[in-house]
Structures are given as C-alpha cells and as structure tokens.
C-alpha cells in the first residue's frame, strides 16, 4: 500500500496528501513498539548482548579465577552473589556466561544461515536431482527430534575434534576449553540448516516465476546476479523472522547441552553448566545459587518468546 502511494507520488500522479512512506520493516517496528511484552523482551535481549560485549568491564573477576580463601562465601560487596565451592565469583561467571551464549548464538546463526542459504538456493534455483537430494537429506534430519540429534553429534565428535586440533599442531587449543565451543557450534549448526533451506527454497520457487525475474533473464542478466540482486533480497523477510525466532532456541540448546555435560564444560562459563553445578548443591547451604542461572535462563527464554510472538503479530496484523 505505502509503496504504491510512494510510486504514485514520484510519478506525479497524485496531489492528495499521502501517509509518509514506510517500509515493511518500518511498519513492523511501528506495531512492535506498542507491544509492551515484546519491548520488555527486546530490552532483556539487548542487555544480554551488551553484557556479553562489556563482560570484561562488568565482571569483577575472571570467570575461572579460583580463590581458595573465599570458598562458599555468601553475598558480600566483594562477591555480589557469593562464591562457589572453588571460590569462583558467581556474579562474574554469570556475566561471562552471557558472552558464551552470545558467541554461540551468533556463530550458529551465521553458519546455519550460510548453510541454509547455500542449500536452499541450490535446491530452489537448480531444481531437479539436486533439489531432490538436498530435500531428502533434510527429511532424514527432520526424522529426529532435533535436540536428540544435537546430543548425538555433540557426544560423538568431541574426541575426534580434539584429536584433529592436536594433529594440526594446535596443542594449546586442544588443551584449552575452547574446543567445547567448536563442538557446540558444529552440532547446533548442522541441525539448524534444513529448516532454513526449506524456507528459502519455497520462497525462491515462488519468486523465480515472477515477471521481473523473467524480464531480467530475458535481457541476459547472469544467473548469479539475478540470484543476488533479485531473488535473495526478496526471499529474506520470512527468513529473518525464522532466524531471529531461532536465536532463543540456540541459547537454550547450548544451555541444555552444557547442563548434560556434553556442551561447554567447566571452567568455561555457561548458564547451563552452572545450573548443573549449583543443582548439585541442593542438600547444602549453597542452594540459593541454583536460582541465579535458572532465573537468567527463564528471563531470556521469556524475552525471546515475547519478541517472537510480537514479531509474528506485527507481520500478520489480521491475527488480532
């Protein structure tokens, strides 16, 4: 509607006042802004990523700083949330874990999107056997409950990955905890792409029959250019919604893997691993610690749910 009015205006075909031109996303933002829970969710999400970026400034201690003189200390000005059985500052670990969550969620989204676009484009544009092969591969991955597949991959690839990292001469990396991040990122990226590939394929299939694509083909625009300039940009909006909805799921999956001990492992900071560690304290005096990572995780899932629901409503206003 608004683009139509804008086009009329540019052609000088109308003199009546028109509503200021708004893009699709401008419209969405306008509706989202009036949605209280969604804005609260967005604030929490932004806070989380800010915490991740500023972790070294916010956290008073390193995430793995062990202080055996301050073991199991209660809350104090030095340790806002107390310390664990190794004297590590709980507040600092919560803050650093935001960085883990942010890092994992951004990289997995990036890889998943790259794989999804790559296979989706191959499938949707080339069609035929390639399409068939890719979609059947997706079917096989869909034949499992997603998280179970992630458990399976994460648990099987770790030793191999460590051996491989050692083999290419990065012994220090193999010994550091950073390999855990690789495990989690690989496992989650592998599972995330088929859904996106399907979505992109569907979009391309409907877009490639449009007149403007035919026109571009007719005047001899190279395929790759049609792809990049005409098809992909127009296929993106639903993909962006799907991806942003998936980020909360990625953070939750990382926490689940770490809770089960096959994701990020101590001393790496992760809310899931912390939840597991503190839940082990349930018979002791350290029990209140359990509620800290629990509250953080619930707040973040809530935030992503609110924003996701808000985005959906904003994009499909007829849903009421």
């Amino acid at each position: 509607m608004s683009t139509q009015a804008g086009a009329d205006l540019r052609l000088g075909m109308t003199t009546r006042p028109v509503r200021p031109r708004r893009t699709l996303w401008g419209d969405v933002w306008h509706r989202l802004r009036r949605n209280g829970p969604a804005m609260a969710g967005l604030t929490i999400i932004i806070l989380m990523y800010l915490t991740a970026i500023l972790a070294p400034l916010i956290a008073p201690y390193e995430y793995d700083k062990i202080d055996l003189e301050q073991v199991r200390a209660g809350p104090s000005p030095q340790h806002l949330m107390g310390t664990d059985e190794l004297g590590r500052d709980v507040f600092s670990r919560i803050v650093w874990a935001a960085r883990s969550a942010a890092f994992v969620s951004i990289t997995v989204t990036g890889f998943g999107l790259a794989l999804g676009i790559f296979f989706g484009v191959l499938s949707g544009y080339l069609g035929g056997r390639v399409d068939m092969l890719i979609m059947r591969l997706g079917d096989v991955l869909f034949a499992f409950p997603g998280l179970l597949f992630v458990f399976f991959i994460a648990a099987t690839i770790r030793p191999g990955l460590i051996a491989w990292v050692k083999a290419i001469g990065l012994r220090d990396l193999a010994r550091s905890g950073y390999v855990d991040y690789l495990v989690v990122i690989i496992a989650l990226s592998l599972v995330g792409w088929p859904g996106l590939a399907r979505l992109i394929r569907g979009q391309l299939l409907s877009l490639k029959k449009r007149d403007y694509v035919l026109a571009a083909q007719a005047i001899g625009v190279p395929t790759w250019r049609i792809m990049l300039r005409h098809l992909l940009p127009n296929a993106m909006p639903p993909v962006i919604v799907a991806v942003s909805g998936g980020i909360g799921g990625i953070i939750l999956s990382e926490a689940t893997l770490s809770f089960l001990g096959i994701g990020l492992q101590p001393p790496n900071p992760s809310w899931g691993a912390m939840l597991y560690q503190y839940y082990g304290y349930w018979r002791t005096e350290l029990w209140p610690l359990l509620f800290i990572p629990a509250a953080v995780l619930v707040a973040i899932v809530l935030a992503f749910n609110f924003v996701g629901d808000g985005l959906n409503e904003a994009l499909n206003p007829q849903l009421d």
Binding site: A143, P159, L275, W287, L290, V298, V301, N305
Partner: protein, 309 residues
C-alpha cells in the same frame, strides 16, 4: 488416502537404512574407540586386538555395515559393549517399558489438563481464570525442563520434603510424581494455549450462533459443536509433542536418575557404546516417523476435507 499411507510406509525402511548408515558411519569413523572406553586408558594392546576381532571391528567398513544390516533385519541389534555379553534388545526392553509408562502418563495428564484449562479460559474470556491461564501458559512455555527439574526437586525434596529426590519404584509410586509433573508441564502449556485460541476462534463462527439459536443448551453447544472443531488444530501440535517428549525424557530421566531409555542412551553416549546408541537412534527414528504418520492419519479422520485431498 490409502495410496498416501502406503507411500509414507514405504519411505520408512528407506529412512531407517539412511539413519543406520549415518549412525554407523559416525560410529565407525568416530575416533572414540569403544575398546579403549571399555578397558580404560592403560589397557593391554593384546587384549584390545583380541576384543576388536571378537566384535568384528578389524574388518573393512562395507563388510561391517552389510553384516550389521543383515543382523538388524533379524532384529538382532548386537551386544552392548559396556554390559558384556548382553544383547542390546534385552537390556533395552525393560528400560523402554519404564520410559513408555512415564511418557504415556505424563502426556495424558498434560493433554487432558491442558485442554481442560484451555476450554475453561476460553469460556470465561477476560475473567481472572483466563488471565491466570494465559499467565501460566507464558511461564509453562518458557521454563525449560532442566530448569524446572532442579527447582521442583529443590521445592519438594528439600523445602517441603514430601517426595523422593530420585530413583524409580514404578509408575504408581511416589517416586513417579515429580518426573510426571515435570514432563507434563510442557504439553499442558502448549495444549492450553492452542485450545484456548482454537475455542475462541470457533466460538465466533456462524454455526455456533445457529446452534444457540435453535435452543441447544450451552453444554451441548460447547461439547458437540465447538470442541470437535477446536480439536483439529490440536492435532498439529501432537507431532511437536512427540519431539518434545523424547527430549524431555532424556533430561527428566537424567535429572531424577530413572532407569529408562533416555538415561540408558545418555550413558551409552558417554561410554561410546555404539550398538546401544545406534539401536536407540533407530528406535527413536521409527517411533517419531510412526508418530507423525499417525498424526497425519488422524487429520484425515477428524477433518474429511483433508481425506479427499
């Protein structure tokens, strides 16, 4: 419908072959040596070679895989590596029984309570009951199993110590209460949400007005006319429910130390017990595929318009 059903059923064995190939390949080329996992870091190489020959690990990939397929066709899933000389199937069946009981009871409770609260909320739209349900659903959806589990455990095994913290004495014992509650939270929230919105949509339809106009009692309007139609979209989430139950079982059994299939599989993942891992993977794939097929068939039963398509 029948042709569709047959096509779907034919896809099943193919799916199983592909799934078994992937899991088998990961197990074969997987760097984690099950023999090392069994014997520990400081093992006698001679025993290791002998064991490897015994399990057939020294033969080429194609031979091992074909032999494996042939054995699967005879429902012989091999022996567990951790529990020596025990067929995987015999180890799995009692555990599977526990898992199925746990899942059946929790999903039944979750679905029934979810539909009940959903209908209640929709009939009293905007009243405090409705607000409470909507609020509960928001939290029920947001709280992950592995967060709710420890909190439940903490509340009912420490603060008000009325229930055991773990273990398993059968589905009708006190030890089953917390796991069942934990596993039914998710389905209940999803079903309450979907039922509520489905009912609200249906209650605005013309045929409901007609039903009221011809003087039917409100109970009949709700049960005969509204509920039946509100059920259709519920079937879609039945498929999702299946997936979330499988994942939930893994976590719940691990948290409460229930000797079911989830815990068994998890233990096998840690111990690289590949015969067990592959069997469980296949089993889950079959269950999942059959579950989804069942949902599709149900669609046709509930909504005749789909049957014709």
């Amino acid at each position: 419908m029948l042709a569709y059903l047959i096509r779907r059923l034919l896809w099943l064995p193919l799916l199983l072959i592909i799934v078994s190939f992937i899991t088998f390949t990961l197990g074969y080329y997987g760097p984690a040596d099950p023999i090392v996992a069994l014997l520990g870091q400081h093992y006698d190489p001679e025993i290791a070679t002998q064991l490897a020959r015994e399990y057939g690990f020294d033969q080429p990939f194609a031979v091992q895989y074909l032999k494996y397929l042939e054995r699967i066709a005879r429902l012989d899933f091999g022996e567990s590596i951790k529990y020596r000389n025990q067929p995987v199937l015999r180890l799995l069946i009692p555990r599977l029984a526990i898992t199925i009981q746990l899942n059946a009871v929790s999903s039944f409770i979750g679905v029934v309570l979810g539909i009940g609260t959903g209908v209640t909320a929709a009939l009293w739209r905007g009243k405090w009951v409705d607000r409470l349900v909507v609020f509960g659903v928001v939290f029920g959806r947001a709280i992950p199993v592995f967060v709710a589990g420890p909190i439940l455990l903490f509340l009912f095994a420490r603060t008000v110590p009325v229930l055991p913290a773990g273990g398993w004495d059968g589905i009708f014992s006190r030890s089953a209460v917390l796991p069942v509650v934990l596993l039914s939270i998710g389905p209940m929230a999803i079903f309450a949400r979907q039922t509520r919105s489905g009912m609200l949509e249906v209650m605005g339809q013309d045929y409901i007005r007609t039903a009221r106009a011809k003087g039917l009692r409100e109970v009949a309007v709700v049960t005969v006319h509204a509920l039946r139609n509100a059920f259709i979209p519920l079937l879609t989430i039945l498929g999702f429910l299946l997936g979330s139950l499988v994942e939930g079982t893994f976590l719940t059994e691990t948290i409460f130390g229930i000797p079911g299939m989830g815990q068994f599989a998890f233990e096998a993942l840690g111990g690289r017990d590949y015969p067990v891992i592959i069997t469980v993977t296949l089993l889950v794939a079959v269950a999942y595929a059959l579950g989804n097929l069942w949902v599709d068939v149900l669609y046709g039963v509930v909504d005749p318009r789909i049957r014709q398509a």
